[in-house]
Subunit: 210 residues, 2 copies
Amino acid sequence: MNTIPKTGRKQIRVVIAEDQGMVLGALAALLEIEGDITVVARARNGKEALRAVLAHKPDVFITDIEMPEMTGLDVAVELKRQHKDTRVIILTTFARAGYLRRALDAGASGYLLKDMRAEELAEAVRRVQQGLRVIDPELATEAWGEPDPLTDRERQVLRLAGDGVTSLDIANDLGLSEGTIRNYLSEAISKLGAANRTEAARIARAKGWL
Amino acid sequence: MNTIPKTGRKQIRVVIAEDQGMVLGALAALLEIEGDITVVARARNGKEALRAVLAHKPDVFITDIEMPEMTGLDVAVELKRQHKDTRVIILTTFARAGYLRRALDAGASGYLLKDMRAEELAEAVRRVQQGLRVIDPELATEAWGEPDPLTDRERQVLRLAGDGVTSLDIANDLGLSEGTIRNYLSEAISKLGAANRTEAARIARAKGWL
DNA sequence: CCCTGATCGTGACAAATGTCACACAGGCGG
DNA sequence: CCGCCTGTGTGACATTTGTCACGATCAGGG
């Protein structure tokens, strides 16, 4: 690092959020070697990220989805709610239609997968800063496939069941009757075409619905 | 980057393997900015990594565990079998005692977690090249805790059950009787102190036993 | 050669799970 | 205001799952 910024054009100011320190530092290094991009702050969880973006008002905010404290998607929603004009790029491992849809609903300008070529990140930052959208091509087509068929309750119940929590325990947790839980699970299982709660949870997770 | 290599000392030659292109490129960028380290090859799966290490004979080989084609651990085992003297650093997301143990058995010199600080990677490379071991401190203590209590069959059955496959289907898959499957699962559940197959699978996965 | 542990099997029983049919409230769109 | 959907509940029933007790075989170690 420490290349003197090629000061010809205005620098693109970026904040990055990512919970794995190694990846965070590496991504920052990757962007810093581009002369026209400056990483003005880094965050290792959602709340920190939100504070950083509000404080620095960067041009572009790059964020992972699954982080402690607050999800990258939640941060995007909050920025939208506050009408901030920082553009958001979601950078995640998961090629899940459900995530992409939620990202777009939250007003994100980009949705990139971590297994794309590293060179594309800086390019995406530039495109997004110019007001363009950058969506992973494979996902873009598939995305408007099936919408999440689950209701909130079903999702909530299925999440617990998928971790091995017992129907009775779920009922107590949520203050419902055990029969009701079994009904929800039965519903979810049939909606997802699964054979049992475990498979149902696996399917839902794979689609990004959980 | 582009600091002119401090050519006083010999460069440390490194090969990196990681299936997520973005992370791979970023890690390479991170190491390249260190004057004394050169990334001589990158690989995006296990087989490619093995070939790259054999071809370049680097001082240090940094690898992820979960990759297509061949696991980072498998690559390490193969290098050990061939008595190669490239030092191996495992760099993974998972703080699992089972993984660490297997890594050490495979002769790895380092086991780092992706959520450590980015600066520690280059430092680890230098230490390892000098013949030292670098193990994540938290793990180091815990590692020699509990060994995997499961037998091969139990592991195999539990893996399927954890994906929602039915006892009967597992039985057919493995050519065993359904009762036997239930026995194995019951055994596994009790060994792991779980309440049911789903929780048992979750626990086993978390420990790196699956 | 005996002991142990892993593997595979049976049978029986209890508990959890999955399915169905049905019921009643509240909310929302037409 | 009338349906319709979601959320919630009940009861009954079939199936799956989890547990136990018992055996039989086989390989390896002492």
